[in-house]
Amino acid sequence: MATVSFRDATRVYPGGDHPAVDKLNLDIADGEFIVLVGPSGCGKSTSLRMLAGLEEVNAGAILIGDRNVTELPPKDRDIAMVFQNYALYPHMTVGDNMGFALKMANVPKAERDARVMEAAHLLGLESFLNRKPKALSGGQRQRVAMGRAIVRSPQVFLMDEPLSNLDAKLRVSTRTQIAALQTRLGVTTVYVTHDQVEAMTMGDRVAVMKDGILQQCDSPLALYDSQNNLFVAGFIGSPAMNLIKGKVNANGVEVGDWTVPVPREILAKAPGETDLTIGIRPEDFELGDHGIAVEVAVVEELGADAYTYGTLAGLSDDEKLNAPQIVARLTGRTPPKRGTTVRFAAGEGHKLHVFSNKSGARLS
């Protein structure tokens, strides 16, 4: 068990014009499940590999516990990369499939058996230990693969897109299992994914990265409710937050024929900016008599909820093509009809996020 710390950790690829990871500072608590997430090329995988010892650290340091591992070769870091490759050997028992790497490391048989038994217990695989893996289901195979990492009892588990080559159904069930297992094992885990849903449902904390820079690291709820900047606001959430640009006036931000009220003290944080972006989550919209006028293009009913997709009212057909889509999730009412114009109450009494267009920073 150990903490993990990135201290100004930087990776510059030879010939690269900007760092792949730029002064990453991140403290991961003992036993914490942290997920690095971001679009392709954001540096999440490079960060994980710096911790694993696969990528050089050009500046800064990485610590596991209080040990500086920046210069240590991968095998001396007491980490386990999970799921890289999980061929199951058909002639060996499930137990031997889980424990063979310990045998190679000369761990005595009694200890090997104990560790395999413990992992099998955790994974619900006890009655499979003496069987061959032939008849195992896809999910059971995944669990044997997890068992291989668990028996090594490393200080830190590293998982780099472990679910990316699974089909959709197995992906959902395996992610639930990994999260549950991690909680029971309490081993510090760093997990990389490009999928924000995976990140939000699995992590104790989620670190969002973009262009090599850590944007925000918070619990899933904090990340969802209060983003540091426009990028995180647009990245986290599915469907995504509505981000609408508008002119600033004395009372708020103009969206179409409606001014979304924004308190003066918030407007004052962006002196001189004539445009600001307001952000509203689809579920924070509410049909009303006053508010943002939206022409509904598509209505999708999903159980008790209905999603409406549309654009600001009063746009020409050409303007509609380039206008941002406005998505609302409405509950417990008859949804509006397609083609009609409705108003969504926003502002006072409704959750609202305000961002500077210049810096992208959150103002509200």
Binding site: P14, A52, G53, L54, E55, E56, P73, P74, K75, M81, Q84, N85, Y86, A87, L88, Y89, P90, H91, M92, D96, N97, F100, A101, K103, M104, L123, G124, L125, S127, F128, R131, K132, P133, K134, A135, G139, Q140, R141, R143, N165, L166, D167, A168, R171, V172, S173, T176, Q177, D195, Q196, V197, E198, M200, T201, S219, P220, L221, Y224, S238, E283
Partner: protein, 465 residues
Amino acid sequence: MPRFLSARPDSRLIPLPWQIPLEDWPTEHLVALPRGISRHVVRFIKVGNSVYAAKEVIETSAVHEYRMLQELTRMDTPSVEPLAVITKRIGLDGEPLDPVLVTRHLEFSLPYRALFSKGVRAETVSRLLDAMVVLLARLHLIGFLWLDVSLSNILFRRDAGEFAAYLVDAETAEMHETLTAGQREHDLTIATTNLYGEFCDLEAGRLLDESLDPLTLVESILSRYRDLWNELTAAEEFSGAELHRIENRVRRLNALGFDVAELDITTAADGSTVRIQPKVVDAGHHTRRLLRLTGLDVEENQARRLLNDLDTYRFHTGQQDLDEPLVAHQWLTRCFEAVVTAVPADLRGKREPAQLFHEVLDYRWYQSQRENREVPLVEATWGYINDVLRTLPDEVITDTIKPGDDDQRRLANPYDPSQGFLDDDEEAPFDPWEDVPSDEEEEESLPASGYLDMRALRGRAAGTP
């Protein structure tokens, strides 16, 4: 309708039953060849006279692997050749099926399961590991991080007295500008762990020769790799009076089968010391020379052997002053082709031509020693064909698996060794994670990936399920 992604399309692939999961393909399309184990469904398929390998895998992996293999083929690194990715498959029940990656089966290749069994000699094993290490070093030199080094992912081909290794699986692989020491070490750790697992598996299946010990086998991989990597890349420093060491280094690299394309030489200001470091080395030193001289494209050690014979021929015929390409052409028609065409058609599937020529040369040497005379090539060729070649198994396509192979134990599925033996069958035990009926409902309501259920998240954070 299935879609075919292919740089060199083979129209014979189109009418195959893509609407059927690969696992259930009718046997008329299949060939049961020995192969490694795989986590995916893999089958060898017959298409006309060709044999292809087909692997069912999700789309991103299939396309990624296709591109990786294409890149390796382009860079002339030994790997199987990718032919096509078949996507947009729809099953008979209307459900989508995973794409299939099709690669060309490597002729005259020998999967490791065929090589480590049946009284294999320690030297043979040592040569196989050498071949694997050369392949790994070659991949690392071009910035290829494999991440799944294993015997199951390698095919071996005879290469004169040695073996040549080919990469078969590039699903996890990544191409980088250059690899860090950490990345290479990681690949080595994966290699040793996987090979240890594979040897233990062979041992558990009573398929490994009893004289071989899995741990001893894998321990030698690390030192072999490091020695080779050092020779290929390490800097060397010596006094300015020892300039012949530059030539020595180049010769050593040539002897290992590598050409030096770029050597970095720096000297101290006063000329007292010299430092050299190979910057770019290309495998295939002998292969390229033979190709240039004769047009024959063969493995590295075969090329070395053939070139030696060419040199001997030049000397014997007193043509040292003649242009080398002219002599090479003479040698090709009078020696090489004479031997190869002497082989009756029905025996040609046993050895490919360069290997056959090498074995004839070996045969001639032994016969000459025995009989204390210079045995002519034609005579040796006939002796070899009758004494040796006729008794050998076919290797164009390694023996198909017959029921009763593998020490009289029958594979559960002759097309898929990953499924183990038939006699392992027992009733599945209770699985507390999968066999609990109440879970079913939960599974039904599992949100599809792609949808973020904030209510569930808030509930969990508040401590209510």
